[in-house]
Symmetry: C2
Subunit: 360 residues, 2 copies
DNA sequence: GTTAGCACTCTCGCCTTGTGAGTGCTAACG
DNA sequence: CGTTAGCACTCACAAGGCGAGAGTGCTAAC
């Protein structure tokens, strides 16, 4: 049996309808709704073939058909291929202006505060798509020290501010039995900067440590704590933030009316480590569009076997990157999700480039 | 009709049973389960009275009885009064050792990093109680500038770190057309510190601004931005963080099996402003225990009319305070919730006091 | 290859009925 | 007078039966 163009079109109609209604779709519906010049009987035959090939399935004998994961996969692959071509011709992408302009504004408004950017991005996406959005903080594979600063907090507590070259900022409050006064802290900061600037985790050599400790005798415990905190920031990942928004949207989908399913999913979505895994896993199924789609059973995480994930990565600077994902039922509007993520990534990148150019 | 001790005891039995089972409880159940030396018929009479007085109600004619909000109120008020007395005798409080020791450990481990403390506290509470926990960041009514520091980020962006006397730390990245080099930034920071230390929002006088601007001519835009950022931090509240944990737990309660209700509640719990309102509203119903309870309809927020909220405030330093709340169905284990919150507040306070003493 | 027609299947909503839990009332009891 | 036994009554809920509707697969004709 051959998967000809007509079969594919029927499959697409089924998927479109099912995405919209969440109801199994029958042959008559398609014959009437989409004018293919075919009777329901013919469509029925084609559907029977599609079922045999595994692209659709019938929940029970007298219901309509429902796309299988395999059907979605075919659909999505074609969608992504079309988009990849369209991207070159640069026409399809700039259509859905209202929604995308909204996203653009959100990005523009928050581009200076990376953490806000991530939070608001997640919010905007979930608002727009009615799905759940997950955005992970950008972390860098090989980040280096940009700038360090110590500030007094109180009598035996200082604040260490670490800025990496990828402009990630982290605060640590460090307690130590003895800490220097304000001016001495400034000096210590200056020394830390000259000693450690551009240092990689490996660059925090024993030699550098020793020089610092001899320069500031009496404050060894403090310096040790500072250095370990800095190493922690560089080897990050551990406290990488993950922002989610629109978890509530899940409850609106009929496939989760049975709320034991919803609960399992919620459990997963409240767990940061789970989400990180989700964002990292098998990134880059379709390199041409920068968007990857994981459908239903393809998902490694059990709780998500009824869901699909559309995800992309955004790049801040060099190899500093984070992930953006949209999570919905397998019956999700892939076209919208892909389009939103693509323009998201595009706008973030161009906004940052503009920032770069203004900088130089 | 008089609300005698026996009626109250029956009410308490009803509430206990209903908390455990979520099923209307009948007269026979009580007669059998709790050995009062009374037949079900007598209990029936008493229940009829309780219903007439409004403390319980019957969902329908042949079901058992369910506590009304008014019934819960009576129950909770008595509970709080008992606890307030017990607190003086200091006996009841130190019982549920396992759970409370767990909380104590969580606090001790995170006491140095306030933001972690809040996040982990929320997590621990929701884990322990199976309800939803909300913790709001501590904000101070009249906070003052503690220490300021400027750091270079890149060619036209600096990082402003603000530490208030209440030890709240905020970062702002500020863009300006021209920014000074490293050493000059240090000088500027020093000047800002001497000029603004201990300043209240009102203390950022035009005179001070002018002095700074004449001292650092050419950097007026930067200074303006810095000062407005500092004012923002002091007048905070706007970007007060709120941490929630265990939202998923809501789905486990039969009263939310109908998930349109759950959805409404989720919607509310994803909205930061809502949560802030919730934590502020009518704090301090029972001053003696420091814990306040809002039951069902008493709640101003519509979405929460099927929920109860048990909340308390924690104090970091002087008048820096935030809120901790437990949200559950009206049929919630008030005793546990109150006990958890009380010991929570107690331990946070004592941990901080220990910190204070170590400091001096 | 396409279509009309038809028998068949299965779900779903509706109604009915029986069951069980729980009540309120009344009359008797100590 | 408070307490209790007994009984009739009510109501939700589950189980079973029924009809309608949607959709299919198959067959025969175009």
């Amino acid at each position: 049996m051959e998967l000809n163009e007509r079969k594919i079109r029927i499959l697409e109609y089924i998927i479109n309808d099912y995405i919209a209604t969440a109801e199994p779709v029958g042959s008559r519906t398609i014959a009437k709704k989409y004018d293919m010049g075919l009777s329901s009987a013919t469509i029925r035959n084609e559907m029977s073939d599609l079922e045999e090939m595994g692209y659709i399935l019938a929940p029970h004998a007298s219901a309509g058909r429902v796309p299988s994961d395999m059907g979605y996969r075919l659909f999505v692959d074609r969608l992504l291929r079309r988009r990849a071509q369209a991207q070159h011709q640069d026409d399809v992408l700039n259509r859905e202006t209202d929604a995308l302009r909204f996203l653009e504004r959100v990005i523009a408004r928050n581009i200076n505060q990376i953490d806000y950017l991530m939070r608001e991005t997640a919010k905007a996406i979930s608002l727009l798509t009615k799905y759940t959005a997950v955005v992970s903080e950008a972390v860098s594979a090989g980040d280096r020290v940009g700038r360090l600063q110590l500030m007094p907090l109180d009598e035996n507590c200082v604040l260490l501010v670490t800025v990496t070259v990828s402009r990630k900022v982290k605060n640590h409050s460090i307690r130590a039995v003895s800490i220097p006064g304000y001016e001495e802290l400034i000096n210590m900061s200056r020394a830390l900067n000259t000693e450690l600037i551009d240092a990689t985790p490996a660059g925090l050599t024993p030699a550098a440590k020793k020089r610092l400790k001899t320069a500031f005798t009496g404050y060894e415990p403090l310096l040790t704590a500072v250095l370990s905190a800095v190493t922690g920031v560089l080897n990050d990942g551990a406290d990488q933030q993950v922002y989610t928004s629109g978890i509530k949207n899940i409850l609106a989908f009929p496939e989760f009316y049975d709320n034991s399913k919803a609960r399992a999913l919620f459990e997963a979505l409240e767990e940061r480590d789970y989400l990180k895994l989700l964002l990292e896993e098998s990134a880059g199924r379709n390199a041409a569009t920068d968007v990857s789609v994981v459908i239903g059973q393809e998902n490694a995480l059990l709780e998500l076997r009824d869901c699909s994930i559309v995800k992309t990565t955004y790049r801040l600077d060099g190899d500093v990157s984070g992930g953006i994902a949209i999570i919905g039922p397998t019956r999700m509007d892939y076209s919208q999700a892909v389009s939103v993520l693509q323009s998201m990534a595009k706008h973030i990148n161009s906004a940052l480039r503009a920032l770069e150019e203004g900088k130089d």
